[in-house]
Each structure stands twice: as C-alpha cells, then as structure tokens.
Symmetry: C2
Subunit: 219 residues, 2 copies
C-alpha cells in the first residue's frame, strides 16, 4: 500500500526530508496536499488524527508526525536504516539533531515570532544570524562532518538537504567553509537523486521555506 505524505505544497520545508527518502527508495507515495483541494484534505486529516502540525504520514492506519519520527518509521521499510534497535535509534538521534538545527536555521529569519513578517523582525534577525553563522554552523556542521561517513541511510539524504539549504541561504558563509566529508556526501546524493532533483516534484527553494536567502543575513 502506498504512503500518504501530508505537507505544505509550495515549499520544501521539513517535508522535503521525507520526500528525499521516499524518492531515493523509489517508494510509491502520494504527496496529498499537492493534489486537488490538497490543503483542505490535509487539514481535515490533521484534525481527524489529532496531529499538531505537518508533515505527517499515513501508512496502513499508522499515523506518524514530525520529520524525524516519520523517517524513523520509514527507515527500515525503505531500506534506509537497519532494523536492529540500537543502530536504528542512533540514526534517529542524528536526525533529531538535524531537527534541532533546522529550528535554528528557521529562527535566523524568524527570531521573534512565526506570525510576524521577516521585515518586522529584521533587526533581531541580523543579530541572531550573526551568532548562527559564527557559532552554530560550525558547531552543528562540525558534528555532522564526523557523521557524514557513516553507512548510507536516510540521515545521509537529510545531510545533503541541509547542505543544499545552507548553500542557498548562506552562500557566502558556506563558501568559506571546508567540510570535506559533507561535500563528498552532497555530491554523491546529488547524483543518486538526479532524476528527482530535475523533476517538477522537487519544489525550488523559495522565500517561504526553512532556508531563505536574505543577503544581509549572510554577513
């Protein structure tokens, strides 16, 4: 039975990490909110299943929410994670660290409130982005760099997406970095996913997702 993915239809956002796993595995899935009346359907399902926010996935009556948990569920099923508990949980921990990082990426352009426009929290964004560039990118990518050579898994796909996103949002900052393992992994995944990345299923980066390009935040 095919997977039903529910996520905002016009952004990569957090849902993209799930899409990459489904695409890499060649899994049969429907990106429900991108279909007709898709967002309405998504909101109804969200309410029905008591889910707090997209993304969520429905598969054989099992409802999973949160990017990291969806990938934890999909991992062994898509052969993108081992089945043994300890190894599987280790990957889940890595993915949760990526989740933590994504919150920080998002908050570079929304440090005060999600409900306010970027323009209304620009001064605070400048301050937060500075700390993000100088402290948080090195801390997180330094850690991910040591994990980039682990056996291929859904985490590899997510690390690719993190690098792509940072290259989009912080091109100048990223140009000055040197994460060899992560760059190698990024190239590898780009080749693996070439058909998907060239398809219209891959939504381009834009100014509504987690990764946004505001040159002033790039230092």
């Amino acid at each position: 039975m095919s997977y039903e993915l529910y996520y905002w239809p016009s952004i990569q956002g957090r849902g993209e990490f799930v899409r990459l796993a489904l695409e890499d595995a060649g899994a049969k899935y429907e990106d429900i909110a991108r279909g007709k009346n898709g967002v309405d359907v998504m909101m109804k399902q969200m309410k029905r299943h008591g889910v707090f926010a997209p993304p969520f996935l429905i598969h054989q009556k099992v409802v999973t929410s949160h990017t990291a948990m969806i990938l934890h569920y999909l991992g062994p099923r898509l052969r993108l994670a081992p089945k043994a508990e300890a190894a599987r949980l280790r990957l889940h921990g890595l993915q949760l660290t990526i989740t933590d990082f994504l919150v920080e990426v998002h908050d570079t352009h929304h440090p005060i409130a999600n409900s306010l426009y970027y323009e209304d929290q620009r001064a605070e964004s400048l301050r937060r982005a500075k700390s993000f560039r100088e402290s948080r990118i090195p801390k997180f990518l330094g850690y991910f760099e040591t994990r980039a050579t682990l056996p291929f898994s859904y985490v590899s796909l997510s690390l690719f997406q993190v690098m792509e996103g940072l290259d989009y949002a912080f091109p100048e900052t990223m140009r000055k970095t040197n994460y060899r393992n992560l760059r190698k992994l990024q190239e590898k995944v780009r080749k693996r996913l070439a058909p998907y990345l060239a398809s219209e299923r891959r939504i381009p980066f834009n100014q509504s997702g987690v990764f946004r390009r505001y040159p002033e935040l790039d230092g």
Copy 2:
C-alpha cells in the same frame, strides 16, 4: 541492569522529563553527572558515543539521546507506553511536540543566542515573550489540553512538568488560563510523584534551566 542517565547536574532542564519517568516507574537508575566528577564522566561518554548533547541514556550498550527518543525507548520498558508500534509512535509524536514547545519556552529568554546572557538579549526577549504568551501558549496548551485525558503514559508526566514549569516562569499568565484537563492531570501527577518531588533528587527550578522566572517576560 540499571539505567545510566547523563544530564547537567544543577538544572531540571530537559533531563527532568526523563527523571520523572524513571522515578514514576521506580526504576533503578544513576544520575551520573550528579556523582563525583560527574560532568567529566558525562563529557567523556558523550564524546565516546558520538552524542551531540545531553541528555542521553545508556542501558545495556544501547545509547539513546534526545529527551523524546529516550522516553520512546524507556516507555514500554517502564510500562509507561504500550508496546504496539502505532500507539507507541503516537506518544512519541506527542512528546516531540512537547520538545518543540520547550525550544520556544527556552527562546523566550534566549531569542538571539544561547551564548549570550539574558541581559544582553533582554529587548528581544520582551518581544518574543509577548508573542509566546499571546499566541504560543494558547496554541500548544490548547492542543495538549485535548491530549491530557489519554491513558496515563510518560507523556502525562511530561505534561505535568510543562505545567509546573510554566507556573514557575509565567505565573501571572498562567493564572489567567483555564486548562481543566491539564490542571487535573497536574494534580494527579503531583500526588503520584510526591515522594520524589519532596526529595533532594528533585532539583528546584532556577535561573539556569529551560523555565526561568523573569517577571518582565510575564507581561
């Protein structure tokens, strides 16, 4: 074999959610960093096992990190979660929503950078806390309120801790709210955990944890 919990020894923080589950179950555990040279031991173990940050748990060679994942692991073992996959994942999703909320709680006093003192990001904190009080508390607690009547689990213990923390950090704001299910649950857990809460194992709330009391942030 007993559980080894690793977390900062002087705060409740995220580790407290794990402590509550272990205490409620009467599990045998060691709060390693609170022992002799505890923080040194913790840092060594963290490095050794490639963990990004505390809290983490070691049990029979399985290393789990991140509060929500540790609880996901402990749940069925402590009889604080069902064993069936769908139900177990549903709880994990709820706990991850609590994780998301805790980031927002933390960022009310650290909206710019973790590495800066509160006093150096006070103006931004005032703005962020306003949005937190007016939009985020209602959004999250409104959701948790609908989940507070689910069968008792580690999530129940975590919701207790969320309420205790908010009462400590935002007493005026919380006084004006009316979450009957959450309040009932809070009372129930307070009774259940009375011996622990009265013991010196329960670290008091303080100005270094996730929940901090700055009256100016309470509106």
